[in-house]
Every structure is written in C-alpha cells, then in structure tokens.
C-alpha cells in the first residue's frame, strides 16, 4: 500500500508542473494591466512603472514563471499585490473555511443523496421513485445563489434564527460557527445531493440485478440485510469516486455560494483576485487546489482498496 501511494505521488509531479504552467500563462492572456487595475483612480506614471518593475511584469513571461516556481519550491508563494499580505498566510486563513464548508456540504449531500438513491432504486418505477427523482432534479436545477437568497430571507430576515452571512471561526465560537455554516452547506449540499442520488440509484439498480443478490434473497435473508450489506457495499464504488471528486470541486471554492453568504473562502478569494489581476494570489490558490485534487484522487484509490478486497491484489 505504501509503495502504491508513493508511486501515485511521484506520478503527480508532472501533473502539477502542467497545472502551474497553465495557470501562469492563461492568466497572462487576460486583458487588462494588473498595475493599472490595482491603481484604480490613482495613476501616477512613475508609480505604475515602479510597481511593474517591482512585480517583474516587464520581464519575459518565461523568466517570470521560473522566478515564481523557484520561490514556490522554497515555500514562498509571494505576496498579494493588492494588500501585501503573504499568499501563504492568505491560503492558511481561507483553508479552514473552505474545508469546513466542503465537509459539511458533502455530509449534507451524502445524508440526503445516498439514502434517497437507495430508496429510489429499491422502489424503482413507483411514485416514490418519481418523487425522489423530481426532488433530485430540482436540487440540481435550482441556482445556488437563488436558493441561498431565499433561505436568507426566510431564516435570517423573517424568522431570525440564523445569521444572514459571514463567518465565525470554530475556535472563537463553536455554536455560532455551526450556525453560519448551516445555510451555505445546505445550499451546496442540496445541489450535490441530486447528483449523488442519481448515481447511487443507477449503481444500486445494477447491483440489485446481479446473481449474488438474487441468491442472497433466495436464501431468505431479510431484504434490509440484502440491500444494505450485500448490494450497497458493491454499489458504493462509483459513489466513493464521485464523492471525492465532488469534494475536490468544493475545495476549488463555491464561488456563488460564498458570495451570497459572504464566506471568506477560496472561491471568493480567487474571484476577487482574478478581477484585481492579483496574479500571485490566483496562482497560489489554483496550485493549492490542484494539490488538493491530486491528494483526493489518491484518497479515492485508497478507499477503493479498503472497500473492495479484490483490488488489493491487483496492484
């Protein structure tokens, strides 16, 4: 297992180099001058020139890239051009928010999506199945920001049960932290639950048709045991893949949800950074998310092996 993890990690290095190259060059293709975007209303030509020099914007792109990669390898992601805060510090301050939101959303998604998918598969073709499908589809189709605004109106403005937006760190006030997370996590989770439910349903349907399930039923096992122990365990494979991928996507930041609920996570940071042409921040976030994605893929593979003993020997 350890050899496997090691091999997978070393295979990730070329991927990371490609990711960093892409981010770096794509950004440079964006129209708009970062220094001018930063200058806003003040445009002293001397100062603009000084800043272009300071951030090496006059160097050839290849040189800029090498400089950046060199710094990153030494653990220095640079500083935000806009606020001068070190990017590493920014990443560390946003990571807990994003991780927490991703974890809670995924939990909501799994708690709703997987049971709903099982029920729909077991009751295939009945009203229950259609009902669950309609719910799932609406979960996927309702725009996040709209659902978010509706929830704010109901729970924050009308009922005043939950704070409308913002974030309180868990270490500062655990209860308040959960309150601020509840609505955004639900909004995100609801849209993912739909996807998860559809996949669970189809995976379950396939497994339920297989011979060993029929055998298990024929042995006279209780339907609950057949479904949860025999069928679900085998149907879990695609669900695990999907969940880890969804988690990876969530790490990239839930831009709209974070915007509506004013959560200071990766999504909000990267959007602001792109608009301000704050190159160092964009590069830092994308690279960080890239690493996260690669680790999650690895996690999915490791989980496969734990769930499915057959795969342990194949590698």
């Amino acid at each position: 297992m350890i050899g496997f993890i090691f091999r997978r990690l070393s295979a990730a290095i070329p991927t990371l180099i490609l990711v960093s190259l892409f981010v770096f060059t794509l950004q440079k293709l964006l129209p708009g001058d970062p220094v001018l975007a930063m200058a806003g209303e003040e445009r002293d030509p001397q100062v603009l020139e000084y800043l272009r020099d300071k951030y090496r914007l006059n160097d050839p792109i290849a040189m800029q890239y090498l400089h950046w990669v060199g710094d990153v390898l030494q653990g220095d992601f640079g500083r935000s051009m806009r606020t001068e805060q070190p990017v590493t510090q920014l990443l560390l301050s946003k990571l807990p928010v994003t991780l927490q939101l991703a974890a809670w959303s995924l939990m909501f998604a799994m708690l709703i999506g997987i049971p709903a998918g099982i029920i729909a598969a077991v009751r295939k073709g009945t009203r229950v199945d259609y009902g669950v499908n309609v719910l799932a589809l609406s979960g996927i189709s309702i725009p996040n920001f709209w659902l978010g605004l509706l929830l704010i109106l109901l729970f924050a403005v009308k009922l005043q049960w939950l704070p409308a937006s913002g974030f309180v760190p868990f270490s500062e006030d655990p209860l308040r932290n959960l309150q601020t997370m509840l609505m955004p996590a639900f909004v995100l989770g609801a849209s993912l639950a739909g996807t998860l439910m559809r996949h669970t349903r189809s995976a379950m349907l396939e497994v339920l048709r297989s011979d060993y399930v029929r055998t298990a039923r024929a042995k006279g096992l209780m339907p609950r045991v057949v479904i949860l122990k025999h069928a679900l365990r085998n149907a879990l494979m695609p669900i695990v893949t999907l969940s880890t991928l969804l988690f990876g996507e969530l790490l990239g930041g839930a831009v709209l949800t974070e915007q509506v609920f004013s959560l200071p996570g990766f999504g909000k940071m990267i959007v602001d950074a792109v608009f301000n042409r704050d190159y160092a921040v964009v590069q830092g976030v994308v690279l960080c998310v890239g690493i996260g994605f690669i680790l999650l893929n690895l996690l999915a593979d490791v989980l496969y092996r734990l769930i499915n003993p057959r795969m342990r020997t194949s590698a």
Partner: protein
Amino acid sequence: MKHLLAFTGVTLLLACSQAMAAPATLRIGIQDDPDMLDPHRSRTYAGRLVYTALCDKLVETDADLQFIPRLATAWEWSEDGKTLTMNLREGVTFHDGEPFDAEAVKFNLDRARTLPDSQRKSELSSVESVEATAPTTVTIHLKKPDATLIAQLSDRSGMMLAPKAAAGADYASKPVCSGPYEFVERVQQDRIVLKKYDGYWNKDVFHFDRVVFMPIPDTSVRLANLRSGDLDMIERVAPTDVKSAKADAKLKVYSTPGLGFMEMVVNIDNGSKAQNPLGQDKRVRQALELSLDRDAINQVVFEGLYIPANQALSPSSPFFDKTKTIPARDPEKARALLGEAGVKMPFPIDLKVANNPIAQQIGQIIQAMAQESGFQVNLIAGEYATQLSEQQAGNFQVALYNWSGRPDPDGNLHQFVTCKAPLNDARYCNPKVDELLNEARVRNGLEERKALYAQAQEILVDEAPYIYLFFDPRLFVARGDLQNFQPQPDGLIRLENVRLAP
C-alpha cells in the same frame, strides 16, 4: 433560603453589571474589501472608510466641505502663498504610544512624497520641503502657491502614521496611526476589526468600543444582513433598495449629495479611434448630449435618487456653478447639429460600459435615446479593469466612467482635462482651459477661484470632451436606534457622538 436569595441577588447584580459593561460594537457593511492598509500607498475608496476611524489627519472637512482643525489646530499662509505654517495639537499619541509632534508630521509628509510606490506624490507635488520649526509647529515650503494643499491634507496625504511602525516592512497589514480606533485584526474579504484607542485625545465623543468593517459586495445581501441584525449600518446602498428600506420601521435611511460623478468620456485625440466626427467635431458631441434625457435615466435606473449633472462640481461643493442648467432633451436640434456637421445618419458610435447591471442599463437607455437623434450606439460591455486599461490605451470611442470625487474642485477637473493630465483618457487639450485651471490652483480666495472654474467649465460644456451625467448621492441605511450620524458628501462615516439609543 436566605443564602440562596443573597446568591441570586449577587448573580443578578453581576449579570447586570456585565450587561452594562458588554462591549458596544458597531458593525458596518461596506461594498468592497480595502486594499493595503497604508494611507500613503492605498488606492481604494473602501480603504478611506476604514481610515476615517483608524487614522487621524491634519485637517478635517465638515458637512459643508469647510476645512476644520484635527491634528493641526490652526494654520496660516504666508503673503506670497508659498509657506504654510501649521500648529499641531498637543498631547496626541500614536496607537503604539509614540508621541505625535512636528517631527512626526515631517516624517509622514516626506514619506508620502518620496516613497517609490506612494500614490500621494502628485497630491503633494507642490511641496518643496517640510520643516519642524518647533515641537508643535511645522512649516511647509512650496515650490509655487497651491490652493489645493489644505484639501490634500484633509485626506490620505494628511494622514499621520506612527513613524517607527511605518518604517517596518509589514505596516500595510498592521497599520498604526493616531485615530480614535486602533487596528486589531483583518481577515481578507471578511472583516477588519478596530477597537477604541484609550489614549485618544478626544475619546469621550466616541461611544463604541469596537468597530468592525465587513465587506459584502452584493447590495441585497448587505441589506439582508442589516435587517437580520447582523450589521448595524451599511453604506453605498443600491437606489433600488431604498424604497424597501424606507418602508421598514426598524431602519433609517440617510442620504446626501456626494462629490463623485458619472460621465461619458469621449475620445478626442487618443489614437486612431479619435479620428471620426465624434472626436473631431464638437457639434457631434453636443448632439449626443442633446439626445439624452438625464431625468428619465435617473427615474428608470436610480429611482430618481441621483442628481443630474452637466459639470464636474457637485451641488454639495461651494464651487458648484448654479448657472449651468441642464439642457433639455432635443432630438430635433441634435439631428440639425449632425446635419450641420455633415455626418451621415445614423452615425455609429461604440459605447463602452462596465459589465454590471447598472452600467449596462444606462447604456441601453442611452442607446435608445440616441437612436432617435440620429446615432446608432453599439454597446460594448466588458469587465471594468479591462475597460480602464483600454481607455488609457485609446482603444475606445466613448466610455461610461465613474469618479469618486474630491472635496477640492481641482481634484475633479485638473487631472482630467488639462493637456498632460494622468487621467485625461480623452487626450483633450485646450491651452485656455489649462491656463484657467492652473491659475485656480495658485489663487486662494473662494470667489476668485470660483470665477476661474466657471470660465473653464463654460469651455468644457461647449466642447464636451466629457459629458457629465449624474452626481451620485451618498446613501446609508442604519438601524433605527442609531443616533447622531450625519452623512457627508465624501461618504465617509465619522463616528463622533454616534451611539445607540440607550
């Protein structure tokens, strides 16, 4: 039982005293996240909102835009207008305990003038040297008389940072000033927390223990947060939200005409896009202006809350020119002017607008109005940062542009319309205008300057390189029990005497 009663009594008392001592926090929802918190280097308007509580400046402005003492208690000009002597307030300390004196003023003005990435250099360009003539007297020597200097010292150029802290590398993330509130922490895109500075010279008029600025870009979310009690006050309220906020008995709406304006910049001589009748013939620009009904745009887009403009100086400024009435829409006359200019109708123009709903809506209305006057407007909506750099590079014909406004008229005119000015994207150049505006810089009398600005604006209205559309009002909404808040033309939130009703 007796013990129990006594115990309950004591607990109750404790609870009460705790409730009374609970720190009073004011949470202000602001539209965007400030950039670096260093007054000499920062650029955003949001930053100025924070500085108002954090960093005191030499001179303050009141609601009528008159200059009043702050860290400078009095000032005096020499006969020739080339020396400014300021007396400084005694007993003032910075948040780190460093004393504020003439040396500190010299340090700050020199820093703002010489730091390589200082954004204040052009504001202080008239200063030749600064001299600490006594512990509480500072003398500023100028290269030439500068009527705008006091105005500059009433803003970021006049903000005083603690010299020792400002010499450090991390100043922008841990600012140290001498204002009524000191810096506690900042979480980017989330909040900036300040707490009351115990050593402040005038601390009795500040009633909140903490002030928290929370950037929330979406206007409706900002209002929802105020409604739910998660904020106490919001700024830059969307005009479309004002009606519902007014209907809410728990909220109070504040409004005052601002200093900023919205205008159409016409490319007069900035590259090849200027080589067409719109850039070359003022009659075509006059026709474009005559095709507009500012009141209609105001009603449709801004619920009638904006103030139609055809000059750069706002009605809240003492320099406002009352004689410049806004021309009524006149499509017939516009067509006649286009005919005189010999252009073929419909005359095509490209109008650049930012890709936000408000700018796009205005663009669409202008498009419809101009069509009836013989123009064919192509709207090009793009991201604002891109628009700015294209504007500067001359890649535009007409662009919709916003300016946040300055208290001194010079800041709203000189840098846009004089021949070599940094913000003159139109590359408009008229030596007569330069002469008048340069003259207005060195004169000190209000009436004298006012006359010069009026003359310059007479030419600008006629030649129309910039077609002014609106002054934006400063709109705030706060909880109903907030007392003594006075909105001011610069839109900054001054917290003197502001408190919650007991």
